[in-house]
Amino acid sequence: MRGLAQSYREALARLRVQALLDPGSFSEWVGPTQRVTSPHLAALEAPVSFDDGVIVGQGLLHAHPVIMIAQEGQFNGGAVGEVHGAKIRGALLRAVRDKPGAVLLCIDSGGVRLHEANAGLIAISEIMRALFAVQEAGIPVIALIGGACGAFGGMGIVARLCDVIIISEEGRIGLSGPEVIETVKGVEEFDSRDRALVWRITGGKIRRTLGEATLLVDDDIAAFRAAAGEMVGARSLFLKKRGLNPTTSSLQTLQAAQQQLGARAELDAEIRDGQVLWSRMGLGDQVSLMSPEQFNRRLEALES
């Protein structure tokens, strides 16, 4: 009846998990029937969720065993609380033990859950530590970012620690959210209601242009699945192409990242908008209308 793709942005986390992995292969840990809900939200008389807004478990991606972690952006903005964070950390540590082909981390989060303040902050640092342990064990962590909340706050940092980031144009990565920046620094600094500007600064295309995201895909669960599947299948090849090789040396990875940051610091200070950068790169002023396929082709041609 229709030709639209199954939108990654619109899907609930449970649907994303189902559609990203091989059909019927997923089994969940600490699932909703166990009712491990947030004691902090309950104490505040705020609604709780049976899975505390995150789904963790194992499954297969193109027949490779993977560990799946998927945040539900629609529950409290995907924010990380104590239970939520412990589930993510636990799943990461399980990866160290079980040695799957990869960990898929579907980030859809504004960061720490304000209701749980300190517990949430601690949870974020525990997630980071666990993530390093996974990488130390030679297992790549693939971040998928395409939900409405993007990856902000602590989860923005976590995203950048991952070996690979697959992002859609609708996806965003940042530290402070646009509204926070506007509140603190004023509307002249960042007009958070100018949605187009917000995306030109935090969105998938500019993050890919700056080399912070690895691959830009359509807002289509099948596209995310295909991209993640390819990386799990031939990851070292792919990572080498991008000058990264986490399986041999994490120091090397960090140095590469440092180099990237150095290059970015040398960018012209006049560039305060993705469009300016794209124009200077010769990509024209229609970048926002390019499909991911066109965009990737143009960008790869420039990069090679």
Binding site: L12, T33, E72, Q74
Partner: protein, 103 residues
């Protein structure tokens, strides 16, 4: 939060194989429904936690109609509600039930 327990007589559809499953999401104007196997094939049990106060009568009417509409005997429904309208509650429950049947 307001809570509501409701235990209603219901017909069972023996062909249903209810694997526990979660539908929907706790976001503004929405709700999540966890369907599990209950203890009594002739009853349907509802357990509701809602953020909207003062709607117990509406909840009872919506759930009673739902239990009369479908053979839900032997099932238990646990609901976390974040201010969904009755239309959304009915739709979500219908979807959850139809998915059990389809699965």
């Amino acid at each position: 939060m307001e809570t509501l327990h409701l235990d209603l007589p219901a017909i069972q559809d023996a062909s249903l194989n209810p694997r526990a499953a979660l539908y929907g999401v706790v976001s503004s104007g929405n709700l999540e429904v966890l369907v599990e196997r209950g203890h009594d094939a002739t009853r349907c049990v509802f357990e509701v936690q809602t953020a909207a106060h003062g709607f117990v009568e509406v909840w009872k009417a919506v759930l009673t109609d739902f239990a009369a509409r479908h053979p839900v005997g032997g099932l238990s429904f646990a609901i976390h509600d974040a201010g969904a309208t009755p239309a959304v509650v009915s739709l979500r429950l219908d979807q959850a039930f139809q998915s059990l049947r389809g699965a």
